[in-house]
């Protein structure tokens, strides 16, 4: 019974990884760029939800926000931050140095954003983890001894719904076709009149949305946020993305869930100390056996969505 409980916990943890892994996949798939601000955006959302609920807007502009407003506000703030990153990292570099997607420049500048935002938060709120107050609708469902918390179930449902919606948009909408065209062949897309200056911000908005949701889901589920919360989630999400297959959104879903479950099972059988070894060992083994990932294509690098 405890094992099944751990499996369930793994799925719940995995749903946070899934959401972040899909954000990574989207940027890599369309822009060929590993966006290092993703873990920061995730942290920003979690810390933002906590700060809005506890203090409200900074400088005493407002009092504490009620829960729904704090969570929604955190997501909006994360999307805005992601657009700022696009404006001053990706677009600026691209205009100045030509096709920045060919270079490591956005990768490095996004790393700069990561460190600056993270340290600003540390300066503002300190390094210590912060407890989130319990949410009024945090009820526990007892299913024959298996404990399921309502927020966890909602998290999982929201994560899957977002991913399913995203896949539908990419497959069937005009914007989705434009994004896939840029992903496969930016030059041909450009010739046909697909304006990447307009579509690239869409990717960053979606990245902000996914990270924002993941951040508040994490905050609700674990009741604790900290300025460093993005680091481990970020690396696990990258591992999930790679195991699932670079460029495949459903691969990121599968990979994120596998990492989450593997982590909880490792805790169950070997204890918490061995988690890192097992998770990263799993990643290396997966890369060795199936370098393109479980659902990935052989043609890593082009046309990946």
């Amino acid at each position: 019974m405890l094992l099944i409980q751990q499996l369930l916990n793994g799925v719940m943890l995995g749903s946070v990884y899934v959401t972040v892994a899909v954000a990574f996949t989207l940027t890599i798939g369309v822009l060929n760029f590993l966006n290092f601000t993703i873990p920061t955006l995730f942290m920003l959302s979690g810390m933002g939800a906590w700060a809005l609920a506890k203090w409200g807007l900074p400088f005493g502009l407002t009092g504490p926000f009620p829960w729904p407003l704090a969570l929604g506000g955190a997501v909006v703030m994360t999307i805005a931050a992601s657009l700022v990153v696009e404006r001053f990292t990706f677009r600026y570099m691209k205009a100045k140095y030509g096709d920045a997607t060919e270079h490591a420049i956005p990768l490095v500048s996004s790393l700069g954003f990561l460190l600056i935002i993270e340290n600003l938060i540390r300066i503002g709120y300190g390094t210590d983890p912060q407890r989130m107050d319990a949410i009024s609708w945090d009820t526990t469902i007892n299913l024959d001894g298996l404990l399921l918390r309502a927020p966890q179930l909602i998290s999982l449902a929201v994560a899957l719904a977002i991913v399913a919606g995203l896949t539908w948009v990419l497959k069937h909408s005009r914007i989705g076709r434009g994004l896939r065209a840029i992903a496969e062949n930016p030059d041909a897309a450009n010739i046909l009149g697909v304006d990447s200056k307009r579509l690239v911000p869409v990717i960053f908005m979606l990245t902000g949305l996914l990270c924002g949701l993941a951040g508040i889901l994490f905050a609700i589920n674990y009741g604790e946020v900290s300025p460093g919360m993005g680091e481990e989630i970020g690396s696990k999400a990258i591992a999930g993305m790679v195991i699932g297959g670079l460029g495949s959104i459903w691969g990121a879903v599968l990979g994120g869930l596998i990492i989450g479950i593997a982590e909880m099972l490792t805790v169950h059988f070997f204890g918490a100390d061995t988690v890192q070894v097992v998770v990263w060992g799993l990643l290396l083994a997966a890369l060795f056996v199936r370098p393109q990932g479980l659902l990935g294509h052989h043609s890593i690098g082009k046309g990946k969505l």
Binding site: R174, R177, G178, R180, A181, E184, N185, D187, A188, A189, N190, I191, L192, G193, V194, D195, G303, K304, L305
Partner: protein, 240 residues
């Protein structure tokens, strides 16, 4: 005048790919641009479609200055480029590729244009929902041309469309170019297949090192074998 190009310069860093080039295409004309590899033909077409910004010069389509316009603006004004190597989206279905041609269409009529492409190319209709990667080279060329047609262009620019096609398909292709022209579309054709190109075109330009060295009626160019040989034959030998 449908397309009027004056003093066009294209540079890639130090490489001066197109040098103060003048060229025009009248409404309803087929005009061909010939030249050896590296003469600047592809750079010219890419600058005309806006894939590269020209360093200087004027590009007018039906009187509208487009030299600094975005590719989207040029597509809206009626220019379409069928790029070298076709550049279809192999991860998309045949149908999705055609929809990419209609990407900027705001009017509701584009579905009719897609249907017309299927009528013209039954092979594409049969493979509508298949990945474009399964198409043969000739079918991929049809798809690239069909994709351009769906944007309802006034001027289609074709970059080496016969490259890599079987002789039978090349004949079909040039028949198609003539047909499209008769349906009212003006055509700017870049080709290495000099004989076929001069056969279908009304006028031609010969490029060398980014400059127009010859321009004349297609028949006159075809008759002037010594001159064309000097520019085209020599380039072929050097390239191969």
């Amino acid at each position: 005048m449908l397309l009027e190009v004056r003093g066009l310069d294209v540079r890639y860093g130090r490489n001066h790919a197109v040098k103060s080039l003048d060229l025009h295409v009248a409404e309803g004309e087929i005009v061909t641009v010939l030249g050896a590899n590296g003469a600047g033909k592809t750079s010219l077409l890419r600058a005309l479609q806006g894939a590269v910004r020209p360093a200087s010069g004027s590009i007018r389509l039906a009187g509208h200055e487009l030299a600094q316009a975005t590719p989207a603006e040029r597509v809206r004004r009626g220019m379409a480029l069928v790029p070298e190597g076709r550049q279809i989206f192999v991860s998309m279905s045949v149908h999705e590729n055609l929809l990419m041609g209609a990407y900027l269409r705001k009017d509701g009529d584009w579905t009719r244009d897609v249907d017309e492409v299927y009528d013209r190319f039954p092979n594409l209709a049969e493979r509508r929902d298949m990945k474009a990667s399964v198409l043969s080279g000739g079918e991929q060329q049809m798809l690239a041309i069909g994709r351009a047609l769906v944007s309802r262009p006034r001027l289609i620019m074709l970059d080496e469309p016969s490259l890599g096609l079987s002789p039978l398909f090349v004949t079909n292709l040039f028949d198609l170019i003539g047909e499209l022209n008769r349906s009212g579309i003006s055509i700017l054709l870049v080709e290495q297949n000099t004989g076929m190109a001069l056969d279908v075109a009304r006028r031609g330009y010969v490029l060398e090192l980014g400059q127009v060295v010859l321009s004349d009626e297609a028949q006159a160019l075809a008759g002037n074998s010594a001159l064309t040989q000097a520019y085209l034959g020599g380039g072929h030998a050097a390239a191969s």
